[in-house]
C-alpha cells in the first residue's frame, strides 16, 4: 500500500478556487507534496523539470486543454507514464472517451466529493495509507 505522503502531485486548473479546493482535499487525504499550476502550458515544463507521480488536470482550460495536455505528457519519453487523472464536467462523455483513447488513467466528474477523488486515485495506486 503506497503512502499518500510519498506521492508527488501536480494539480492543473485555471480556476484558483478549484485548485485550492483540490489541494485541500488532497492534503486531507494525506498527500504532502502537492503543487499546482493555472494552465497546462505552465504545468508541462514544470513536470518535465521536476517529475511528479500523479497529474490531476481539468479538461476545460484555455490555450491547452486537458486532452492536449494528456497527449503532450503521453508523448514525452521521460514523463510519458505519469499517472494522469482528468477532471471533467458532467456532460462531457465524449471527452472521457477521447481521454481514454489517449491513455488517461482515470477521470473524476465535477462536482466531486473527497471520497470520489480518493477512490479514483486508489484505483490506480492501490489503497493509500
Amino acid at each position: 500500500m503506497p503512502a499518500a505522503s510519498a506521492i508527488k502531485v501536480m494539480v492543473v486548473d485555471d480556476q484558483t478556487s478549484m485548485r485550492a479546493m483540490i489541494r485541500r482535499t488532497l492534503q486531507d487525504l494525506g498527500f504532502r507534496d502537492v503543487r499546482d499550476k493555472p494552465s497546462a502550458v505552465e504545468a508541462l515544463p514544470s513536470v518535465k523539470a521536476d517529475r511528479v507521480h500523479l497529474i490531476i488536470s481539468d479538461y476545460n482550460m484555455p490555450d491547452m486543454d486537458g486532452l492536449a495536455f494528456l497527449q503532450a505528457v503521453r508523448s514525452d519519453p521521460v514523463i510519458g507514464k505519469t499517472v494522469f487523472i482528468m477532471l471533467t464536467g458532467s456532460s462531457e462523455k465524449s471527452v472521457v472517451q477521447k481521454a481514454a483513447e489517449l491513455g488517461v488513467n482515470n477521470y473524476v466528474v465535477k462536482p466531486f466529493a473527497p471520497a470520489a477523488l480518493k477512490e479514483k486515485i486508489e484505483r490506480v495506486f492501490g489503497e493509500l495509507t
Binding site: 485555471d14 480556476q15 484558483t16 478556487s17 478549484m18 485550492a20 479546493m21 476545460n60 484555455p62 464536467g89 458532467s90 456532460s91 466528474v109 465535477k110 462536482p111 466531486f112 466529493a113
Partner: protein
C-alpha cells in the same frame, strides 16, 4: 425581445442584443458575468447545497456545488469568446427568506463574493441579503441589469442542488448590499 428564464442549477449565456436572461431568487445566488469587448454575457442561479432534514450537507460540500456552478458559467463564456480578465460580475440574491433555514442566504452571498475575489473578477453591482426575494433581468449583450425585490409569496421554493446544468444557449451581509425596489445597473 427573447427572454430566457433560468431556475436553480441552470445557467444561460447569450450575445444577442434582443435577449434578456431572467430569474427569481430567494436564498439562491445569481451571478451575471459580462465581457464588454465580446458583447457577451451569462447568468447562473445556484445554491451551495440546501440542508435537508434527513441529509445535512457539510459546508465544504456545499462549496463544491458553488464552485462547479461558477466554473460552468465561466467555461461557457470562454467557449463563446469571452476572456477571463475582461469579465465583470453583478451578484444578486442570498436573501434569508425562510427563517427555518437560518442564514443560508448569507452564506451563499459570502461564497459568491469570496469566489469572485479569489478569481480576480471585478464586481459591478451587488444586491445581496435581506429577507425579500428578488427578480433579476440581465441583458447579456451590454451587461445592463434590472433587479427588484418581490413579495415573498412569489419566491421560488429552494431545493437541493445537484450538478448544475446548462439551461439553453445562449456572517451577515452589510445592509448596504441590500437595495430597495427597482434598480437599473450598467
Amino acid at each position: 425581445m427573447q427572454r430566457i428564464a433560468i431556475v436553480q442549477g441552470q445557467h444561460a449565456i447569450a450575445d444577442d442584443p434582443d435577449t434578456i436572461i431572467t430569474t427569481l431568487l430567494g436564498s439562491c445566488i445569481a451571478v451575471c458575468l459580462h465581457d464588454a469587448e465580446a458583447k457577451l454575457g451569462g447568468m447562473n442561479h445556484f445554491l451551495l447545497g440546501e440542508p435537508e432534514p434527513q441529509h445535512r450537507v457539510r459546508p465544504e460540500d456545499r462549496h463544491r456545488y458553488g464552485l462547479h456552478a461558477m466554473e460552468l458559467l465561466i467555461n461557457a463564456m470562454m467557449q463563446k469568446g469571452a476572456a477571463r480578465h475582461r469579465l465583470r460580475a453583478h451578484v444578486f440574491g442570498g436573501a434569508n427568506v425562510v427563517p427555518a433555514f437560518g442564514k443560508i442566504g448569507t452564506a451563499n452571498g459570502e461564497f459568491a463574493l469570496r469566489f469572485l475575489g479569489t478569481e480576480g473578477i471585478a464586481i459591478g453591482h451587488c444586491a445581496l441579503g435581506g429577507i425579500l426575494p428578488r427578480k433579476v433581468e440581465f441583458r447579456p449583450w451590454d451587461g445592463t441589469v434590472h433587479t427588484s425585490t418581490i413579495e415573498e409569496r412569489f419566491a421560488p421554493p429552494p431545493r437541493p442542488s445537484a450538478a448544475p446544468q446548462v439551461q439553453m444557449q445562449g456572517s451577515d451581509m452589510p445592509d448596504e448590499y441590500s437595495h430597495g425596489d427597482v434598480e437599473l445597473f450598467r
